[in-house]
Amino acid sequence: MNRKIYMAAGYNTISLGTGRKEFHPKKPRPGLEHYINEAGKGTLEQIGGAKNVDESVIGNFMAARFNNQGHLAGFIPMIDEGLKFKPSIRVEAACASGGMALITGIKNVLAGADTVLAVGVEVQNTMKAIYGADVLAGAGWYQRRKDGHAYFFPGQFSDRAGAYYEKFGKERTRKGLSRWYRNAIENARLCPTAQECHNTMPDPERTCMKMEPNGKFFVDNLNVLDCSKVSDAASAIAIMSEDGLLKCGINIRDAVEVVGFATSERDITKNPTDLTQMETIKDAAHKALKKAGITIDDLATIETHDCFTIAGVLAVEALGFAKHGEGADFIYAGGTARDGKIPMNTTGGLVGWGHPTGGTGVHQAVTVWEQLTGKTGEAQIDIPADKPYGLSINMGGDDVSVVAIVYKKIV
């Protein structure tokens, strides 16, 4: 990279949806504007205001359908009048829109900007899940929608889970998935903005294990706890050069350095080569690690895209923490727990914190930034001195678009 890239001043709104006490499906809720505003202002306040922002990027997947609203770049100056007449761009890569906003911001800094405001947002509770499924199906190939499941993406990942069960054993895999769910809920309980923060289920792992998937009512191979929920939320973070940090008055120890990043794309019109593997995640993550010049053993924490628990298992294997077919065992043995070999999704991930589709990538970056700078509150994990790195993996569609970013703690 021709310049050093930093991220700082992250901000997450709450992830609103079923599970949070404030959520009531029949009562009016804040809209897109509220979330963009809150997250944007949350970051601006930490960087000395809008005057220090050179450009902005907003990541969003489907506001055009969830909220009948396109043209989201126009909402950036709404956050603060100081952003008027400054460059603003909206990017879309399905559920990797947030990650793509980060990549766009990073590239803008590499191209000369000193401070880029990156926002990711999605407000999805505007419709019932059965209609939301149509909207989210837009992350797949529309030509395949007709043959797809009523709940399109749960159907896709159910097929992956089914193939995995068949190849490596169902009971063994479900144990890993149920532990993944437990970790997600327990981690979310430590994070005040998480959707599952108020979850009081006595034994999440057992509950998930006992809930047999039933294709008559949902999908064949996953239960509802295996799925991330419908969420309304936004996150924002500042992407900066060294000059940007100075201008914004950010202490470098309150920032993380972006030491590697990669995006990778698979042909959306083709089926995955192997349902039991996520090859695009594997490709992007290893390219990013290679650019950073590190291996998975140097990572202290990972935020990975667990839109479904099975995606957690497949990511563990794609990264190389377990051999193909042993990802569920690794998770069941505690490998991904907050005190495990590699703490993953320490504030709940998509299953626990929430999955505001177009906002998720930015939320992941905020979480890694919080962990590496010691700002995670109750959810803070130990960052060993010899492992100063974090990784985020943000996926769009069924392993189609992937953004992987490696962050380094500054000591």
């Binding site: 059965i130 209609y131 149509d134 499941h149 009523a150």
Partner: protein
């Protein structure tokens, strides 16, 4: 005539009423499902929604549209399969809209009885008025060349009587839905000896497709459900009247209502239930049943008195509760009618005094909601009633007497041949009245 053919031409009489609209919804959905079967493609299915009220029919169509959407949203997996050959329908939303259109296309809202003259099957859900039912059945049957079957939703009038007086030659049976039909799973099926076997078979198949729990009841006025409910009401009213010697009207009603709800772990107290059904309706059902009782008098001066004063209960068209014995705010009782004042008195003004009089609830008490859906329901009830059995408070005594009477009524329904067995009585009370336990139980010693 096979099942599908029978359901090609159907009428619902009283379609805009509370029961009729539910029956219409369920039947429309069943007919739509049949019309989508490959072998029925191209066949016309017609469901006449007959009601005298044009306003009611307009409301019915709105209700139907909303309810069919809700149903469609719940069975999207099936719908995607059902419309798999429609390449133009891709998204869930498109398929749901088409399904609503297809169901609504079957329904013809009309105010004239003549539409029923070509039906094969006629559901009747008009007012509980024997003379009116007979007149309409006769009129349709005389003009309908198809020898139609009549499924009456009467909750109290003997079927054999309707059969005889309308001259239907056994083409009528009782198909008694519970309120609201779209939600309540219970159907009381009342057959008479003149019914053809094909008619009973059809009724069972239809009920099965609607996912209903069928309890057969013999043809005695009131059948099982009202057979229990009316006698249970008479007992509750009598208990309240006894209390009135020492306490005010409102206090007495409050205490019996509380005992029959909380102490008996039921979903609502007896006076609230009477209000829910309607004081006028309860009174009418008793009047229909009473002539057939040899040893009992199913009549209440108190119900007559309130009815004459215009206090009727029942529900508004939006499903909200009208005031009756009790006054309701957001569905919750807040007052009790005082016939002397001809007005409601506020419950909060005297409830504490009454609660003290009744005595504390058993320590193991849990409200109906916490018990009925609990996996350990039987254990919870057993420990609660074990404790109640040992209590001698006024509330406990009233509750024990109430349960004993409920038990007697249940056994009486079996002994007099209304119900085939104890289980049928309990099933009706469990599924039709949402009781947590059947009246024929061993909880009280």
């Amino acid at each position: 005539m096979k099942y599908d053919e029978r359901l090609q031409k159907v009428s619902v009489l009283g379609a805009a009423g509370k029961m009729g609209s539910g029956i219409l919804l369920l039947t429309a959905v069943e007919m739509a499902a049949l019309s989508m079967k490959p072998e029925n493609k191209g066949k016309t299915f017609v469901l006449n929604a007959i009601d005298l009220s044009e306003e009611g029919l307009a409301g019915l169509m709105k209700y139907l549209r909303a309810q069919v959407r809700k149903l469609a949203e719940k069975k999207m997996i099936w719908l995607r399969q059902a419309y798999a050959d429609r390449k133009d329908l891709i998204e869930n939303g498109e398929i749901i809209d088409e399904y609503i259109f297809d169901v609504m296309s079957i329904v013809r809202p009309v105010t004239t009885m003549e539409s029923a003259y070509s039906s094969n099957l006629i559901f009747e859900a008009i007012a509980e008025n024997q003379g009116l039912k007979v007149k309409i059945f006769r009129q349709i049957d005389e003009n309908n060349p198809n020898k139609p079957w009549f499924f009456t939703n009467t909750s109290s009038i003997p079927i054999s009587l309707l059969n005889k007086e309308a001259g239907l030659g056994g083409r009528i049976l009782g198909f008694h839905f519970y309120n609201p039909p779209a939600v309540q799973r219970l159907v009381e099926l009342i057959t008479i000896k003149e019914n053809g076997a094909d008619m009973t078979e059809f009724a069972l198949a239809y009920a099965k497709n609607l996912k209903k729990v069928v309890v057969p009841s013999n043809d005695y006025a009131g059948f099982i459900g009202n057979g229990h409910f009316m006698r249970d009401s008479i007992h509750g009213i009598a208990e309240a009247e006894k209390l009135m010697k020492n306490y005010s009207f409102a206090e007495s009603v409050y205490m019996v209502n509380k005992v029959s709800q909380d102490f008996l772990v039921r979903p609502m107290g007896i006076f609230q239930l009477i209000d829910y059904v309607g004081i006028d309706v309860v009174r009418f059902i008793m009047a229909v049943m009473n002539p057939y009782q040899e040893t009992e008098n199913l009549q209440s001066d108190l119900l007559d008195k309130l009815f004459d004063m215009g206090v009727k209960g029942g529900q508004n068209s939006d499903g909200s509760q009208k005031d009756g014995f009790l006054k309701y705010e957001r569905g919750r009782p807040v007052g009790i009618y005082d016939p002397n004042k001809k007005d409601y008195v506020v419950i909060a003004d005297f409830s504490e005094k009454c609660d003290v009089l009744l005595g504390a609830m058993a320590g193991t008490y849990k409200p109906w909601k916490a018990v009925n859906f609990n996996k350990k329901k039987a254990d919870l009830l057993q420990s609660y009633f074990d404790e109640l059995n040992g209590m001698e408070t006024m509330g406990a005594k009233l509750a024990k007497a109430y349960n004993t009477r409920s038990n007697e009524i249940g056994k009486q329904l079996v002994n007099t041949g209304v119900a085939h067995n104890n289980d049928d009585v309990n099933t009706v009370m469990l599924t039709g009245f949402f009781h947590a336990y059947g009246p024929i139980n061993n909880y009280l010693k």
